[in-house]
Amino acid sequence: MTLLERRGIPTVSYTAQGFVRDAHRSAESFGLPELPIAVVPKPFTNQEPEEIRSMVDGAIEQVIAGLTQEVARTEMPKELVFLDEEWLTFDGDDALGAFQAMNERFLSYGWSDGLPLVPPTEEALERMLRGTSRSPEDVVAVLEPGFGIATVAKIAANAVMAGCRPEHLPVVIAAVECLAEPKMYLRNKAMSTGPHAPLLWVNGPIRRQIGLNSGVCALGPGAPSFANTVIGRAVRLCMMNVGHTYPGVSDMDTVGSPLKYAACVAENEEESPWPPYHTEHGFDPETSTVTVQFVYGICELHDFQSAEPERLAEVFATAALNVAQVPTGMWLIGRRADPRYGTEEKEHHCLFICPEHAAVFHKAGWDKGDIRRALHRRARLPFRLLMLNKEPQALTLAHPELAWLWESPDTLVPVLEDADCYDIVVVGGTAGRGAFFWGAGEPVTKPIQP
């Protein structure tokens, strides 16, 4: 809408009451905080037509005013707290009191993930910056949705707050680069009403150098996953304080997700029978990389019975058959797309296959490609089921050639677009239990620079 306003077209957008702050903040980040909106009590989604018409009746005067009255260049209420000061001081009766004062203030500003933050003092920041060869003023990226300027120093401050050690900083910086990749379409995932959580997996020599856990309880919690936890947390804090993704203002996640606190592992390359994930994407085995994939949720891949690959793949494929998850059959109505950059994403799922299960596949001569193809072959649902929570007109626009499916609603349709939409990483300890993640769009992998 701001794009059209800039080109001389007056606009007004219907906005549900619960999204007014989000709408103002979004318009502000595009340079037009006064962008007119017509506020309705509830979202139009999940409403009966009569209820929608009634809401429009109540808002029509706002629509007319928004289109016909000059938009006043008044100062809009700031939805987020931004302070000009580069350094902030907090006092207390003692060191613990000052620590608590900082944490209380950061909570009140919305700058905290809710857990205690390590103070980014000058000494702590300097120590953290020794973890990278990059200058503190270097701009790593501009991070959406707030178009925050991600300098090395700002990333380092958030890494300190998360509890990172200096050797973790290069991973956090590379993860921020992943987030900023146009194809990541961060704006969509950060601001959505869905529980998009950044899941990280690290490949290459740095895994061992910085103590990342790829084995027992790799996703945490616990001491063995210290590096995993603080790196994942730092990335989340960067999304908040660098990209300005703040719950209730610019992150409208309906329920939230514990995966958003921290979700980071290393691939268990030592126990994997296959080439590491990053080598499938053009990187040398000796190059360290981080991959970021936004995910909606996690479920277990449990099977103590199967010793045959087809049977194991059949069990795994059932995880993909959840119609209540956004990506299931979503390809039928199009692709996640950001027209500003001309990018499109296929929906991907990610499987953390445990070494025990990987061995079952490998023993039978299967590689990751064989597993992907088996999953794609088996993960199918009737068209009717897949379309229960999708807009029929979107199918007509995205795939007019598939209109015949309405006449054959029991036709089995793959839940993802193709076999390459299943990403496979070997992770975990010794037991037949892995993890399946319903993904949001495609993963992005970047090299980790010292």
């Binding site: 059209l4 306003e5 800039r6 606009t11 219907y14 595009f30 016909t68 900082m102």
Partner: protein, 97 residues
Amino acid sequence: MASLRVFNPVARSVQTRLEPAPRPADLNGKRVGLYWNMKAGGDVALRRTQELLAQRFPRAQFAFYQGDVGWLMRHLTPGEADRIVREVDVLIGTTSD
């Protein structure tokens, strides 16, 4: 008494400031675009909007638009935005929940 001096962790934004488009005095004789981003119910809302505006502004004309790309939510491509700029005087959208 203890004091803690910490680095502000919040990044500055790339600042942009746009001017809103000039508004017409009323919608009579204007071409009103109705943009549905494909979220459920938005089409119903826009059709009702058209009904109400047509009663109030009998000489207004209406045209519906949907995004060229996207999935759960469809977006305008630059090409479609060009078309809207050519074809309408004002635009009403169901773009935000």
